[in-house]
Symmetry: C2
């Protein structure tokens, strides 16, 4: 790939600043956990898996700094505080909490060895988490690439890419893997209002990798499908319910409905960890509404009149019946349902 | 209504400057045909019917100016030149050419009376064209309002409003007429990328009239339909084919497909003059692609990376099977088809 979302470089975590894309490719150096917290808070790094791995490095950086300064008791207390701080960098990020909890376990398991041993084991864990996320995406890519026909014109929505993960991406991992064996595939990217992750991030990262990409607004995919110019759709997922319903970025549902009308395969690519067998159906998922400012314009540019109401749901739910297959690191689940998902779930 | 799209005021055509909305409500005074041409060219006035009426006033202004200065022969020549100039203000606007041709006919029919008589008859014609367009929209509104249930939550796309016509609007005419008898109706407006006519114009003109309006991005209407928060859809049309297929602003087709899935009535409101019995089916209509710049950002703000391809179809075609009814000034056509449309066509 032509860039790293995050990289560990000689004791420093370097994060590609996603707030500056696509105009500037700049890395932010994080020397301690406070730098990492700031980067997560200001969305220098975004995407649930990427945030989780950045948080793990943040805890490792805190441990390294504290190990040089304190006795074991003070070290343990200070590290616990650092973990709390990192885990609160963004309130509702599930992967963030999960990653920090994993680091707390490693801390506990190694605390008998003293601060330096703990710091070393935490850094090893962060590096492993980073590597595992990339491997999981590469597995998704491998499985998914087999579903992509020759010279396919692939529609994707939002950014389920290397920029949202520790590297390679989920939906874009499938595209990368397919492109590596068939350079005649092309991508159509929805711009993905209101935050424009498709225009700003997906288009940028695919072009950076030399994959031909065409940008459209969110209301154009139906036109292209009707013209026979889209062969398959692949998107990521925020959460998959036990019955196969998929919560993902707002607009995913409309794309899925149009794909079904035109008999175009609609694939959802995500690590198995995104499948939540504790959520029975998609309609149990509470949809967060974000700030009206995002819909009134973009950034500092506002174009809507004062006095208008705004709705801004962050994601929607696509019913399982519209999903041709789920592409996970554990393999492909065709026609996801409680029955088909239960089989893979038992591999835990 | 709280504003005029265009108004004839003491020998001056005043146009609401739509390029300044919604931030500023400013009228541009047109004292001669060159002012009108400039206003059409720079999109101070837009929307096919509004352009047509503005062009008619432009010809009337030219005739008035020329009548004071020249003999009959010179007047006729100069006025013919002015008609040519006005008709070329925008190359592909059908209503513009139609309106100027109508003015040429009036010129011919009255030329025996001399320059002053011609100028007077042309002004009368422009005023009548203006009044007839508003009356046509009011008839559309009257017919359409009968289809709107109590407290309906109505989705509309783009701007088929007073701002696109000489006043009142087509789709928004239906909404205005319904609101006048039931102030509990509410509107959801798609922002309508790339040019954001929904956010900038529809939201502005409905709020100006006190009609409660909620703005969403184009990828959110499916979510609201799935939640049961939309009761009907009404949009305008650029052209209706003889079989009932509807060409309208890009994104209309996706809304129609989602409405059908959720069994929500999908209405198209337009004057009968928009029905083109010479076009057999929607797939005969050539879809114009506009500048990539519009999709790369908005106005001077650009957010897409260099090197990305862009598609920018200006409109799409909604097949007749998805249209619950066509609402015209001649009446309502349920399930539009060659058969049902032929009946109204015979009223010519």
């Amino acid at each position: 790939m032509g860039f790293d979302t995050l990289r560990w470089n000689n004791g420093v975590l370097e994060l590609l600043d996603q707030t500056k894309l696509p105009d500037h490719v700049v890395y932010v150096a994080c020397n301690d956990s406070h730098d990492v917290i700031r980067a997560i808070r200001t969305m220098v790094v975004r995407g649930a898996p990427a945030i989780g791995v950045a948080a793990a490095y943040g805890v490792a950086l805190a441990a390294k700094e504290l190990a040089g300064e304190a006795n074991s008791v003070a070290f343990n207390d200070a590290l616990a505080t650092a973990c709390d701080e990192v885990s609160q960098a963004r309130p509702t990020a599930v992967n963030l909490a999960w990653a920090v909890n994993r680091m707390r376990e490693v801390h506990r398991a190694n605390s008998a060895g003293g601060p330096h041993a703990v710091a070393e084991s935490l850094l090893r864990e962060a590096i492993q988490m980073h590597r595992r996320d990339v491997e999981s995406n590469e597995a998704i890519g491998r499985h998914g690439a087999a579903l992509v026909p020759r010279a396919a014109r692939i529609l994707t929505h939002c950014n389920a890419g290397a920029l949202a993960t520790a590297g390679f991406g989920t939906a874009l991992g499938v595209i990368r893997a397919a492109f590596s064996v068939d350079p005649s595939i092309t991508v159509i990217a929805d711009e993905t209002r209101p935050l424009l992750q498709g225009a700003r991030l997906t288009a940028w990262e695919l072009i950076a990798d030399g994959i031909p990409t065409t940008l459209i607004t969110d209301n154009m995919s139906g036109f292209l499908m009707a013209k026979g110019e889209i062969d398959l759709v692949v998107v990521g997922a925020d959460r998959v319910a036990a019955n196969g319903d998929v919560a993902n970025k707002i607009g995913t549902y409309m794309v899925a409905v149009l794909a079904a009308r035109h008999r175009i395969p609609f694939y959802v690519a995500c690590p198995w960890s995104t499948v939540d067998m504790a959520t029975a159906r998609g309609d149990e998922i509470v949809v967060e509404e974000r700030s009206p400012d995002e819909v009134m314009g973009f950034g500092s540019t506002k174009w809507a009149p004062r006095g208008v109401g705004v709705r801004n749901p962050a994601f929607d739910v696509t019913p399982a019946e519209l999903v041709t297959a789920l592409i996970t690191d554990r393999g492909i689940v065709r026609h996801p349902s409680r029955e088909t998902l239960s089989i893979l779930a038992q591999r835990d």
